[in-house]
């Protein structure tokens, strides 16, 4: 059996959870001695942690399910024949308030579904993925992100819905505008390469342009349209995140940040497996580390959360990153049952 067959065998054992300690060591050694095997392992993990599915069944069943659960939530009709007037009045007012609740739930989260049948690709924490859309546009999806597109993609327009972070390299096609929907902004692509960051738990949606030009429209106010030029980025406030900071502006246009010696841009460092922070509050760094490495981190030292850190980490383990931050930040971290605790 040659090396690669043995490597595959060990990967399979690892996935089943039946791998012995010496076998684990063997796997690590194979990967360490040969970068090709490391690459194979990384790509395998990325594929294993990316889910590709359709919502065909869900879309078909939802209307009926929705009806049934709302009937289930309606007040029960009493079987008692004798009812006093007072009881009747009370039960009527309860019914009225439940009706109001139903309506507000229905409109609370307008469906941003593109069409009945969507293709959906989503990544887990600690994993990223590359895919090619039917028109040839290349997308790199960062950890904990999801992109979906309908079956009518490229008929008139090329539209996708994004949650999380992705880098787009859009195939030029003037006949079919490329449009990206996130919760707070809609981006129409007039050029080619750019990064969109729209995580639901972050303060802002961030769109950074590398090449070409983009038209960004605020979903809250469609009259607010901004054209971005290369090396510009725009941050739009995420209404769903409650911020402890005094006033987060609705939107800010600034320049993309250069990252040190080489002229690469901070916002796309993640593509090169470089973790980059530029005066980031520790709170955000923790969230990024959780996504990047797929770990859970608890910060008990609340004062630490708003302190800012800068740094670039390339191919480092989470422990190495924490040790570096620890030296500057004056905290202690420990690992307890797979959770990292910071004091």
């Amino acid at each position: 059996m040659n090396h690669y067959e043995r490597f595959a065998e060990l990967l399979a054992k690892k996935k089943s959870g039946n791998i012995s300690l010496p076998e684990q060591r063997e796997l690590m050694e194979l990967a360490a001695h040969d970068p090709k095997f490391q690459k194979l392992s990384d790509t395998f993990e990325s594929i294993y942690n990316t889910t590709v599915y359709q919502n065909k069944i869900a879309e078909k069943l939802w209307p009926s399910i929705e009806k049934k659960i709302n009937i289930a939530m309606a007040p029960q009709i009493s079987n008692h024949k004798k009812r006093s007037t007072r009881q009747l009045i009370i039960s009527l007012s309860v019914a009225a308030s439940l009706l109001i609740c139903f309506f507000s739930y229905k409109y609370y989260n307008p469906s941003t579904s593109l069409s009945k049948k969507e293709n959906i690709v989503s990544t887990k924490m600690g994993s990223r993925s590359n895919l090619v859309l039917p028109d040839g546009t290349k997308v790199t999806l960062n950890a904990d992100s999801k992109i979906s597109y309908g079956e009518n993609f490229a008929k008139n327009t090329r539209e996708v819905i994004l949650t999380g972070e992705a880098y787009f390299d859009v195939k030029h096609d003037a006949e079919h505008p490329f449009i990206i929907h996130t919760d707070d902004v809609t981006i129409k692509v007039l050029g080619t390469a750019f990064n969109v960051r729209a995580y639901p738990n972050e303060l802002n949606t961030e769109t950074a342009l590398i090449r070409g030009s983009l038209l960004v429209t605020l979903n809250k106010n469609e009259n607010q349209k901004i054209v971005l030029k290369p090396n510009q980025k725009i941050l739009v406030r995420n209404e769903r995140v409650i911020s402890k900071q005094k006033a987060v502006p609705l939107m800010v246009i600034t320049e993309t940040q250069k990252a040190g010696a080489d002229s690469s841009v901070v916002e796309t460092q993640w593509l090169n497996n470089k973790l980059s922070f530029n005066r980031e509050p520790f709170e955000n760094i923790v969230a990024t580390l959780e996504r990047w490495y797929g770990v859970q981190i608890e910060v008990h030292n609340k004062l630490l959360l708003s302190e800012k850190f800068s740094g670039v980490f390339e191919n480092k383990t989470v422990e190495e990153v924490l040790r570096a931050l620890q030296a500057v930040g004056n905290f202690i971290y420990q690992k307890k049952n797979d959770i990292i605790i910071i004091n």
Partner: protein, 195 residues
């Protein structure tokens, strides 16, 4: 979708009666549950109705959600039980007929209309998985997408744990082989190989 997100969804459903979260949960699991259920009942409307009923019941009992340790296993088992009841009631012969499954049911994400022009590793591999025998695909899907343990899969499919292991090994070796043949890092080595 990862486990943290599923936990968040369950919390939203239990504590806030969040129907949007419930819909997300449906999206996350319905495709897999449908494929599994269909493999037992072999009837489209029946499979759809079973999945629907399982979810409606889940909603009705949502206050008890925190007590469920593994939502994935819970949903699959509920579908299995309902499916077996259906088989009994309708006196149909069933033998977990994975071999008769329509080609696209287990991994149905690409159809001819949306076929990819260029292919990334992800797409090449998923297309290859679809060429595996249905039983292999089902096992792989349950492990990968729904995070079920080999033991749980064995129970759900009425096969031995060893069989589950064999299927998984087959699928993983196939993936490793494809990556080995398509990753540029390996291209020199590939040229040297006789095969």
């Amino acid at each position: 979708m990862n486990e943290k997100k599923v936990t968040y969804l369950l919390l939203a459903i239990t504590e806030r009666d969040d129907q949007a979260a419930f819909r997300d949960l449906l999206q996350r699991f319905s495709e897999g549950l449908y494929a599994y259920t269909f493999s037992i009942v072999n009837d489209v409307p029946a499979a759809e109705e079973i999945v629907e009923d399982v979810f409606v019941n889940l909603w009705k009992n949502r206050k008890m959600l925190p007590a469920i340790k593994n939502i994935s296993y819970y949903l699959y088992t509920a579908c299995k039980n309902n499916a077996l009841n259906y088989i009994q009631k309708n006196k149909k012969y069933s033998s977990f007929s994975l071999e008769d499954l329509e080609e696209n049911i287990i991994f149905s994400y690409t159809t001819p209309e949306t076929d990819f022009i260029e292919k990334s590793n992800l797409q090449i591999i998923l297309n290859a998985i679809k060429q595996l025998p249905p039983a292999c695909q089902m096992v792989f899907r349950l492990a990968k997408e729904d995070g079920l343990s080999y033991q749980a899969i064995a129970k759900l499919l009425n096969i031995s744990i060893k069989t589950v292991e064999n299927h998984m090994n087959k699928a993983i070796k196939l993936i490793a082989k494809i990556l080995y043949n398509t990753l540029p890092e390996f291209s020199d080595y590939y040229k040297r190989r006789a095969k």
